[in-house]
């Protein structure tokens, strides 16, 4: 009997603990939606109507849902990448560039390697793009950090710009441009295309990769000794050194993995949706990935849900723009507010604490 009671109490504590970790992310989203609603009100729109249409546009029909899922794929993969670095206390702000490099290498390996069956071609392309992303975002900034102390925020960001301009260079009349005047690469071989799962939508088999990768990474971070090494380095370099972890190795490995998954995101996007490298200044995914990781509190499984939320905002707001004429920028404003509240999570904690206290005081007065 006592055992049962104890277990229940432990379960309750576990629930309370889970609730507390989710408190800041969920409150941030709700507050952001409310502020976004006021903004719509002031600009002459009915927020409830807009949100209704937004939700319908994102998940209200099978094709809409499929497109939202497709939108979430690159966010999940690059979000997992950023989360891995965060776990080691490293801020990989250059996921955008690693994504570009992954896409670039993915496109190149997709059209220039020919005559392979898809079972070899697709994994090969993905592997190459992961290596490229890892080198770009991880190994170079990682080594710089480990041996010269150069801050990864600066180095990953600068590497990111190099990647973006390298893309322009290669595609605008450069060696990767396909014949014609459009700055884009040739179409990839059909053996490297990730098949579309639902016709007339963008949902490709990449969704399976986006589900498997977070699970593997979750296992890696929380259940293996290498993951624990990284988390210890993330919490205290002094303790890590004291117990004999090689801090430089861990930093390089962590940034390397981080870049590899951002690179994978770029390749999956090319193989699944674009089927070629298109010249653009920014995909935006690499930047949103940072917010996704923060919202998920660096938990790879949480990244799936955080990415879905941003994907819903994204596809939903486009639908709203088409149908109600409300600018899709509203989604950017809402995500901006979410980021703000995640960044100043203390505000929410303070409010929550104050609320708790006033509750207990009130109760005290009544009884």
């Amino acid at each position: 009997m006592v055992m049962v009671l104890l277990l229940e109490e432990e379960d309750f504590m576990m629930f309370k603990y889970k609730f507390k970790t989710l408190l800041v992310p969920i409150s941030s989203i709700i507050i952001a939606l409310i502020i976004g609603g006021f903004l719509m009100l002031f600009t002459g729109n009915n927020p409830i109507e807009v949100y209704k249409v937004m939700i319908f546009g994102a998940v209200g029909s099978i094709p809409n849902l499929a497109n939202t899922l497709a939108n979430a794929i690159p966010l999940i993969l690059s979000g997992v990448g950023v989360a891995i670095a965060f776990n080691s206390g490293l801020f990989n702000i250059g996921a955008e560039g690693q994504y570009m490099i992954g896409a670039l290498v993915g496109a190149w390996a997709g059209y220039s390697i020919q005559g392979l069956p898809w079972v070899i071609h697709i994994p090969l392309v993905l592997l190459l793009s992961m290596i490229a992303g890892g080198l770009w975002g991880g190994i170079v900034p990682g080594l710089a950090k480990a041996f010269t102390g150069a801050h990864e925020v600066i180095t990953t960001m600068m590497m990111s710009y190099i990647a973006i301009f390298l893309t322009h260079f290669l595609l605008r009349g450069g060696p990767m441009q396909a014949s014609g005047y459009v700055p884009q690469s040739p179409k990839i071989e059909s053996s490297s295309i990730l098949p579309i799962l639902l016709e007339k939508t963008q949902l490709s088999a990449g969704i399976f990769i986006a589900i498997i990768v977070p699970i593997i990474c979750y296992f890696f971070i929380y259940k293996t000794k290498w993951g624990l090494n990284m988390r210890i380095v993330g919490k205290s370099i002094e303790t890590a050194e004291y117990i004999g972890i090689s801090v430089p190795k861990t930093i390089v490995a962590s940034l390397g993995l981080s870049g590899a998954f951002a690179g994978l995101a770029g390749a999956v996007q090319v193989l699944g949706i674009q089927h070629r490298m298109v010249d653009s200044f920014s995909s935006g995914y690499g930047y949103t990935a940072i917010v996704v990781a923060m919202l998920a509190r660096n938990n790879p499984i949480g990244v799936i849900f955080a990415a879905l939320i941003f994907a819903i905002l994204n596809t939903g707001s486009q639908f709203v723009q088409i149908n109600l004429g409300v600018s899709a920028q509203i989604a950017d404003i809402i995500s901006g507010i979410i980021i703000f509240f995640i960044a100043v999570e203390k505000i929410i904690k303070i409010v929550y604490k104050y609320y708790n206290r006033s509750q207990t005081e009130n109760r005290g007065v009544i009884s």
Binding site: K225, T239, G244
Partner: protein
């Protein structure tokens, strides 16, 4: 006449009550000691008086008027000064500049010569014995503290609060501090002396107030009390003051250090030709003022730093160049000085903290995959063995008290039977109960024939525990004293750079003697 009175001072931080209804009466021109263990509420009370904290309840009466200082500046202007345990000096500035900072004699233009003259007068009058133009960073810790006291004195206060002033001093420096305190007292200054050291409180104060768990236990006349009575008041039960040690059973040399030298990244030699050995069944105490190379020596022994010269042997095996994990595997355990930043991961559970040094090997991980059940069961066992409370392996290390945090480290480091234990300040900041427990564990290990290196800045600890004592000064071993030769005076002189026979040594001179 009472210069300062507190009535019913109460202060809590969240759920923790730091001060509860404290009434205090400080006589003018007296030295009044506030005695208590860490966490008893001494510092909180002083910070309330000094205006750094606001009390939740209660009032403070200073020179007959109720006061409520808004901050240190306000307190100083009204005649209350405080010397903090951690110095608040600007290292790159001179003694005079540090003293007059913010209270420069002229209005706009600062006249260095005049200021120096003024400060020099005070120094001479009170025998502070310090050069007013010296740069603070060149001064010893004892002299820096004098600058702190001078700084408060210069602000013309009537009441001076000294917060744990002897924590960083050698016995000789403590003596000269006491001379200064007595001189200030003669001039009519009132002094509140905060400490947890019984001997010091007994020798310097007129009255003693004992705090325990945020409450006042008693105020006693110093001449009517003794060490045992104070200790019992402080802890709230009968305390055994003397460490009971079994007679030594020395074995062979277990740890041998030959000619060890270490040069840091800035090219400074932090350890010079260090030579010593520890026998099995022996506690070797290493005394010295902080920053004289203790840290570097310990890090060389534990594999965090690699020495530039010399050798380290463990049971005849050369382990000089082994890394941290390798040395640990060979049997070297290490209790670091900073348990919160180094020894533990406060945000992680006791499970992870208990296996920090071994989670990468079987049975805690296989093929890189962690076995949490194994880790949990091991932790559960160790927690019981070392009496950690609360005994829930899943709570985070930050939720433990200091004593229990140290027990977790102890469980990890000696729970696996090391050959050599290196313990740096293992009882620092702990309450008496935890200190007793930790000392018992170290002695148990000694009686089992292991070698222990006890590095401590507190002479009391070294004198209570060590079988032999070495003294480190500026990276050199000044000498080693056998148990019969251990005496406070001798160690104190060696800590200041003289050898055990009272003759001053030049740098590196010991090995020629």
């Amino acid at each position: 006449m009472a210069i300062l009175q507190t009535r019913n001072i109460t202060k809590s931080f969240g759920d923790i009550v730091a001060n509860k209804g404290i009434n205090l009466k400080i006589e003018e021109g007296s030295v009044h000691a506030i005695l208590g263990e860490n966490g008893a509420g001494k510092s909180t009370l002083m910070k309330i008086i000094y205006g750094l904290y606001q009390a939740d309840k209660g009032e403070i009466i200073f020179k007959g008027d109720p006061i409520n200082f808004k901050g240190p500046q306000d307190a100083i202007n009204n005649g209350v000064g405080m010397v903090h345990q951690h110095f608040m000096l600007i290292p790159a500035m001179s003694v005079t500049e540090n003293i007059i900072l913010g209270y420069e004699p002229e209005n706009i233009i600062y006249n260095k010569a005049n200021a120096e003259k003024e400060v020099e007068e005070i120094i001479d009058n009170y025998n502070f014995n310090i050069d007013p133009s010296a740069i603070v960073k060149d001064l010893s810790v004892g002299l820096q503290q004098r600058v702190e006291i001078l700084k408060v004195f210069y602000r013309d206060v009537d009441l001076m609060i000294l917060d744990e002033p002897t924590a960083v001093l050698t016995p000789q420096e403590t003596n000269s501090l006491f001379n200064i305190i007595n001189k200030l007292k003669k001039e009519g200054m009132t002094i509140i002396f905060i400490s947890h050291k019984l001997d010091e409180v007994l020798s310097i104060s007129d009255k003693i107030t004992v705090l325990r768990k945020g409450k006042k236990e008693a105020t006693v006349e110093t001449k009517n009390t003794d060490k045992q009575k104070l200790a019992n008041l402080m802890v709230g039960r009968e305390v055994v003051l003397q460490v009971s040690k079994n007679p030594q059973k020395f074995g062979e040399d277990k740890l041998i250090v030959n000619n060890l030298s270490y040069i840091n990244d800035n090219g400074i030699r932090k350890i010079k030709d260090f030579d010593f050995s520890i026998k099995s069944g022996e506690i070797f105490g290493l005394a010295g003022v902080d920053g004289n190379g203790q840290n570097e020596l310990v890090e060389c022994l534990t594999g965090l730093l690699s020495p530039d010269k010399g050798e380290i042997f463990l049971d005849q095996k050369n382990i000089t160049n082994a890394g941290t994990r390798e040395k640990h595997k060979e049997g070297i355990s290490y209790i670091p000085q900073d348990r919160q930043k180094k020894g533990l991961l406060l945000e992680f559970s006791l499970v992870v903290n208990s296996v920090l040094k071994s989670y990468h090997e079987a049975p805690f991980s296989k093929m890189g995959i962690l076995n949490f059940d194994e880790m949990y069961n091991y932790t559960k066992k160790k927690i019981e063995e070392f009496d950690v409370s609360p005994n829930n392996p899943d709570i985070k290390a930050k939720n433990l008290s200091g004593g229990n945090q140290q027990k977790i480290i102890l469980a990890r480091e000696i729970g696996r039977m090391p050959e050599v234990l290196i313990a740096v300040q293992p009882t620092r900041g702990l309450d008496v109960g935890a200190i007793e427990f930790i000392r018992e564990q170290l002695l148990k290990l000694r009686d089992e024939g292991k070698a222990i290196l006890l590095v401590s800045l507190e002479l009391d600890e070294i004198m209570a525990m060590a079988d032999r004592v070495g003294v480190i000064y500026s990276g050199e071993l000044m000498g080693v004293l056998n148990e019969s030769e251990i005496n406070r005076e001798k160690i104190g002189l060696m800590m200041l750079g003289q050898n055990g026979h009272g003759t001053s040594l030049g740098r590196g001179g010991l090995h020629d003697v």
